[in-house]
Symmetry: C2
Subunit: 203 residues, 2 copies
């Protein structure tokens, strides 16, 4: 029996839709973007700021942190001590939210939840991907983008997610060794994927 289902996903692969269906089938709570709001609320950081920080993440973040250049990314606390880069403050706030949500059975899409919950053995770790063609089709239909914009967003989003992952974890995004199941949603289908995940979770 798996109490937590984490879902990593490529942009436009339908990972969120699969996550919602799995949550319905199992009667679990469902979280994705809400995590950011929750994290923001608990930590005092604004949702707008969190979103902006994520988008501006660069590969040089850890390098700068290692070199002690965190000031360029961080801010001083009111007392001048406890200096943590803002990006790390955001991640820690999200981590707290994930840990709190995971006290009850739930489905969590994205947010490095698989990494954050890596020491628990009641977590089923899923990754959803698809072909570029199918992802474009989905982005056009679901998000109303034109084909060119959809293609750009896919590239940008995949790059951002991989970078977010490698910045805050010592894992590579989409590395199979960290997943129990990786599905091409364009072939398997949203409903079949959700049903199989729910079946495995109940075992």
């Amino acid at each position: 029996m798996k109490n937590i289902i984490t879902i990593g996903r490529e942009y436009g692969s339908g990972g969120r839709t699969i996550g919602k269906k799995v949550a319905e089938l199992l009667g679990y709570d469902y979280y994705d973007r809400e995590l950011i709001d929750e994290a923001a609320k608990e930590s005092g950081l604004s949702a707008e700021f969190i979103e902006k920080t994520e988008q501006s993440l660069t590969g040089s973040f850890l390098y700068n942190l290692a070199m002690g250049n965190s000031y360029s990314y961080g801010m001083l606390s009111p007392t001048g001590s406890n200096v943590l880069p803002l990006t790390m403050q955001v991640f820690l706030a999200q981590q707290q939210a994930v840990l709190k949500f995971a006290e009850k059975p739930c489905v969590i899409v994205g947010r490095c939840a698989d990494y954050i919950l890596r020491d628990r053995d009641d977590v089923l770790k899923i990754f959803v991907y698809s072909t570029e063609e199918k992802r474009i089709e989905r982005a056009v239909k679901e998000y109303g983008l034109d084909t060119k914009k959809a293609r750009e967003q896919i590239t940008r989003s995949d790059k951002g997610r991989a970078r977010h992952y490698s910045t805050f974890t010592d894992w590579d995004w989409a590395d199979r060794s960290h997943y129990d199941l990786m599905l091409n949603s364009g072939v398997i289908g949203i409903d079949a994927a959700a049903e199989f995940i729910a079946t495995i979770a109940k075992k």
Copy 2:
């Protein structure tokens, strides 16, 4: 409806067992090591030779081929023309066998079958993997190896399969973009995996 199921797999992950069960469930033919025998028979190359060639594959094969140094890997035909490296002769013979088997519904484990059949749209492409711990456990139980030998065989076999793949195809072994479904057999379970694959194939 998928007429062909190809299964790539890590050593000790149970990919062959899953393949056999899928074939039973669907009433399809099943092929793995037999392909080598068949390829050997059709091409006139001996089964022993094919096995030896595979084991001696090195990353420099394509480099040598590109540089025109194929003589060091090949042999002259009786007439002195039609010089093809022996390793490539072996691959071409295996390819012929895969193409022939794929004329009827079947499950094919390994042998770059997914790559060889890449232009068909009735092929379901599976990859089976597992944790090192579970793979060792399986190798000890199924193949009678001791733990140390099993660990060595896992490393050697994964390296060999990745090299075989990159030598004869322009794909990377285990790259998700070439698979429809990737399963951690240690978590999903052999029977559940086989049943899901058969269900998807029948859709």
